[in-house]
């Protein structure tokens, strides 16, 4: 029997705000609020939106040379990650697939790691088993909220002026209404913004303080998904998984030069070979010409009717103003501009391979 879904420290606030609660990866989370997915999406692109991402796994790694040890599990250069910096990465398996993606921050006396809600149960034992001499501490008493959008700096900066000084992928400890929080300038919407780790007993108070700003509205998982899709960001379990390599997933940018040259991470054989020779399939953007959304699992065919791939994420892009999708196609068909067909309910719907993202990313570099 499955366990009852868990609740984040912000559960009561979601209900109070009219959130429609659904089970997501074993957590009761708001999929939307009364504003609606479309409105929440636009709120985030135009002003600021507050997301509860407390279901994600927050982990503290303590010990000597944590960054170097993480390099045995991930193809990122974490040994050279400077204090106060954060970096996107992933755990790879022995066959070069992706076990999960994560954000690693160097917090000075420890490393702070955030992993996907659905993969906590795998990632924590994985790190505990392989990071010798490192204390792996899963944090259960802190909420995590994301404040995202062009007004995020004003929303967060009004309560913590020092946060204005952070650049994209930088992290700090900051005081918000007398509460010490970990504030990191990053997110997963394609917009500027912050993720803020807050002690659970102060989470509602801090969230309310953000929401008191007229430019900030709560947004749910529905908008989070359409925002990340338009921004061309992969969702673990949909677009990347144990079978897809980071090179196939167009994540080569996340493997730093030294690691490409030296290898020394799980699955390096395949990953380095694909870097040299090119992968057999590639994650691409797919822009349907009509209005029918192409969702996860839709077959991609070439113009002459051959199966060339599959949609891994797709739906309606409120900012793009129409359907958007991403998926894997054979490398020979991956060139932007290639005409393909998406087989939606048995009917061929014309689409074009396009470069990701669908909307410009607006990070504060």
């Amino acid at each position: 029997m499955a366990d009852a879904p868990k609740r984040t420290p912000l559960y009561d606030l979601h209900v109070e705000l009219g959130g429609k609660m659904v089970d997501f990866a074993g957590w009761e989370m708001p999929v939307q609020y009364p504003l609606g997915i479309m409105g929440e999406h636009k709120q985030c692109r135009e002003k600021a939106a507050l997301f509860d991402v407390s279901h994600m796994g927050q982990v503290i790694l303590k010990g000597e040379n944590v960054g170097e040890k993480l390099e045995a599990l991930c193809p990122q250069a974490f040994s050279t990650l400077k204090e106060g910096k954060a970096r996107y990465g992933f755990f790879t398996n022995e066959t070069g697939g992706i076990m999960d993606d994560l954000i690693v921050s160097n917090a000075g006396d420890h490393f702070f790691v955030v992993v996907n809600a659905s993969m906590r149960h795998q990632d924590i034992p994985h790190m505990a088993a392989h990071l010798e001499g490192v204390e792996v501490i899963e944090i259960f008493d802190r909420a995590l909220v994301a404040v995202q959008g062009p007004k995020a700096e004003d929303v967060v900066g009004a309560l913590c002026p020092a946060a204005r000084g952070l650049k994209f992928m930088e992290t700090m400890l900051g005081d918000i209404n007398g509460v010490e929080c970990r504030i990191s300038r990053l997110g997963y919407t394609g917009e500027d913004g912050y993720e803020i780790s807050i002690p659970e007993d102060k989470a509602v108070e801090v969230a309310r303080a953000f929401l008191a700003n007229e430019d900030c509205e709560p947004a749910g998982l529905g908008a989070r998904d359409s925002l990340r899709l338009e921004a061309g960001l992969c969702l673990y379990g949909n677009d990347i998984d144990n079978d897809t390599s980071p090179i196939e997933a167009s994540l080569i940018w996340a493997i730093q030069k030294r690691r490409r040259e030296e290898g020394g991470f799980p699955g390096a054989d395949r990953i380095l070979r694909e870097i040299a020779e090119g992968p057999s399939r590639k994650l691409v953007g797919l822009k349907p010409e009509g209005r029918a959304p192409a969702r996860h699992g839709v077959e991609v065919q070439s113009a002459d009717g051959q199966n060339i791939g599959v949609v891994t994420s797709g739906g309606f892009g409120p900012t793009a103003g129409g359907p958007v999708a991403m998926g894997y196609v054979s490398a020979a068909s991956a060139e932007p501009g290639t005409k393909v067909n998406l087989m939606i309910r048995g009917k061929a719907q014309p689409a074009e391979i396009v470069r990701l993202p669908f909307v410009q990313q607006n990070y504060k570099r």
Binding site: V31, I37, R291, A292
Partner: protein, 121 residues
């Protein structure tokens, strides 16, 4: 003239042997903002429980199942360009089809407004 409701959240407004068919306000609210409507064509016949269209919201695709046997005599073509009409006026301008009833007795299996209100309560 009377209006019937199905357990699949469709309404059907009968005028003689023809009827107008759509999804209920309750269904539209549950679906959220509708971004795409796939419809059958005029002249197509269907039986009760056949899929006669798909409504896609930002969240998901939902099939529409025929509440009765019939034939499509008119399609609300305006939904192709403005699917939002279905969200905003599901029981008015957001109608899906006008149909010719093949078996009016099937209407007896559907609910009236009070029964439907109790059904969704």
């Amino acid at each position: 003239m009377s209006t019937y409701f199905s357990e699949d959240h469709e309404w059907i407004k009968v005028e003689g042997d023809t009827a107008t068919l759509g999804i209920t306000a309750h269904a539209a609210e549950q679906l959220g903002e509708i971004v795409y409507v796939e419809q059958k064509e005029t002249g197509e016949s269907f039986e009760k429980s056949d899929e006669i269209g798909v409504v896609e919201s930002v969240k998901a695709a939902s099939e529409i199942y025929a509440p009765v046997d019939g034939e499509i005599v008119e399609v609300n073509g305006s939904l192709a360009d403005s699917p939002a009409t279905l969200s905003e006026h599901p029981e008015g301008d957001g109608w899906l089809y006008k149909i010719k009833l093949a078996n009016a007795e099937q209407l007896n299996d559907l609910m009236d407004l009070d029964a439907y209100k109790a059904f969704i309560a």
